[in-house]
């Protein structure tokens, strides 16, 4: 373990924690612009989180310890994921602990605890949200795994840093399989991050919400942590996508660690573009009926499997 590795690991985690709410703010701002509304400040998510941290927490009388622990577990899982995904550099000491499959497992862990906590109180909305979350999750997970397997097949490794290393060093060629996998990944990310075709992040209409329904019973610091964790999840998914499909600017092994100075602006530029694209997708599409979600995610799964098949057959 080198000093520079330690440094880049620390810097990356810090940047993820700081930038994640900012990314959500940016997406909200773009959405407001695109629909001709006055945009809230890009710092609004920070203010919300700060406000929530200063409030007194109210917890239902029949809440078990799962309900209290869940915000910390979910936040911790998202922090771990942020430490694994190479957003700035691939020289990450922590990333050796877990490959892409474990990463999907981390997301699953967070999801399971969220659902348990939502059911814990026993309100009807909580269990409704939890069921829907599991419903979307069990469809999205195989598609995500297939996307990651496609990248692993091309690079010959399931560890994210070495995938990025291979991708950044290869010669420029057209990879139809990566294009398919990219589309599938976007669809999965939309579903996993409770974005518009599947869920609406701004809705509080009881019958349509998924993610928000699970948070209904939380308040104050617990809610702040969960909001922050949701922002981190979006950040992590964006970074996985950027690392797999646009690995330019990430400091790969074999380069000077001072290049980190250039990696951060590159990451921010990519996130700005990615956030705008996300807002554009959300503005252009309408929310689906919940029973259309299997079709949406089935298409994502099919695309990901096609990507793998095309890769096996064409070698491209």
């Amino acid at each position: 373990m080198t000093l520079s590795g330690f440094f880049s690991q620390f810097l990356q985690l810090a940047i993820a924690l700081v930038l994640a709410p900012l990314l959500v703010g940016w997406v909200n701002k773009c959405r407001a612009w695109l629909s001709n509304r006055t945009a809230p400040s890009i710092l609004q998510p920070y203010r919300t989180i700060r406000k929530l941290f200063f409030k007194d927490a109210v917890i239902a009388e029949n809440a078990s310890s799962i309900f209290r622990l869940t915000p910390y577990i979910v936040f911790g899982a998202m922090c771990c994921a942020a430490a694994i995904v190479p957003s700035l550099a691939t020289d990450l000491p922590f990333a050796r602990a877990a490959d892409t499959i474990a990463l999907v497992g981390l997301f699953a862990l967070a999801r399971v605890f969220m659902s348990l906590a939502a059911m814990d109180i026993g309100t009807s909305f909580g269990s409704l949200g939890a069921r829907r979350e599991m419903f979307v999750g069990f469809l999205a997970e195989p598609a995500l795994l297939m996307v990651l397997f496609t990248a692993s097949l091309i690079s010959g490794s399931t560890s994210l840093p070495s995938i990025v290393d291979t991708f950044a060093h290869r010669e420029l060629a057209i990879y139809p399989s990566l294009a398919f996998a990219g589309v599938a990944f976007v669809m999965v990310s939309l579903a996993e991050n409770a974005r518009i075709p599947v869920d609406n992040p701004t809705t509080h209409l009881e019958l349509t919400m998924i993610h928000e329904a699970m948070l209904l019973e939380y308040s104050a610091r617990h809610l702040a942590l969960l909001e922050w964790a949701a922002a981190l999840k979006l950040f992590n998914y964006s970074c996985i996508g950027l690392a797999l499909f646009f690995p330019f600017g990430i400091v790969v092994s074999g380069t000077d660690w001072l290049a980190l100075l250039g990696a951060a602006p590159a990451l921010i530029a990519k996130l700005l573009a990615g956030g705008f694209a996300l807002a554009l997708i959300e503005t252009l599409s309408a929310k689906m009926r919940i029973f259309r979600a299997p079709e949406f995610l089935g298409t994502a799964f099919m695309l990901a499997v096609l990507a793998m098949l095309v890769n096996l057959l064409l070698g491209a």
Binding site: G298, L303, L309, V310, L313, L314
Partner: protein, 222 residues
Amino acid sequence: MAALPLYAQLINLLAAILLLLAFAMLAQRRVLSLIDLFAAQGLALSCSTAIVAYGTHQPHLYFSAGLTFLLKVLLLPWLLYRLIRKLDVKWDVEGLINVPTTMIIGLVLVVFSFNLAVPISTLASTVTRSTLGIAMATVMLSFLMMITRRKAIPQVIGFLSMENGLFFAATSATYGMPMVVELGIALDVLVGMLILGVFFFQIREQFDSLDLKHMEKLKEGE
């Protein structure tokens, strides 16, 4: 992996797009979008033929690319559009099986045809031989579409897209067929389309619908 020349990469890309379009057609619910997808498939096919012609210096393939473009991107979609306007049928396509199941069957078919194509493509000596599996998969998927659709027009589109797949198989395995054969097939498809157009009117006159399940009855008073 040895880097392929650019044109071979482009052909691979177009082959992948062709496969994607075949799946999109399988999942499509609206007749009009189905025709657009068919036109897009024709466009991908004609582009890939032109690229094969450029990459392998086979001037006769330019003609077949042009013929494909005229016939499958312009003429046949136009005919189909006109037919739909005349028949006034814009309903959603009803499948016999729901869409996710159809797609999973489609995936199994793709794996099957990829396996089927491996021994054949090892014998072929062309640059594009690896796309043979995709061509066969396109044929299979079109078959599946014809099986799972109940109405007449989607079945005909499935038939036409099957011909696309066969054509792609010919270019990928052997750099195209002789000009005479190609012309013959092109005219066959055109004539077939015209005759089927007449059939549609007859079917509708007889049964007041284009649902082909009415044709399964042999006697009238059942």
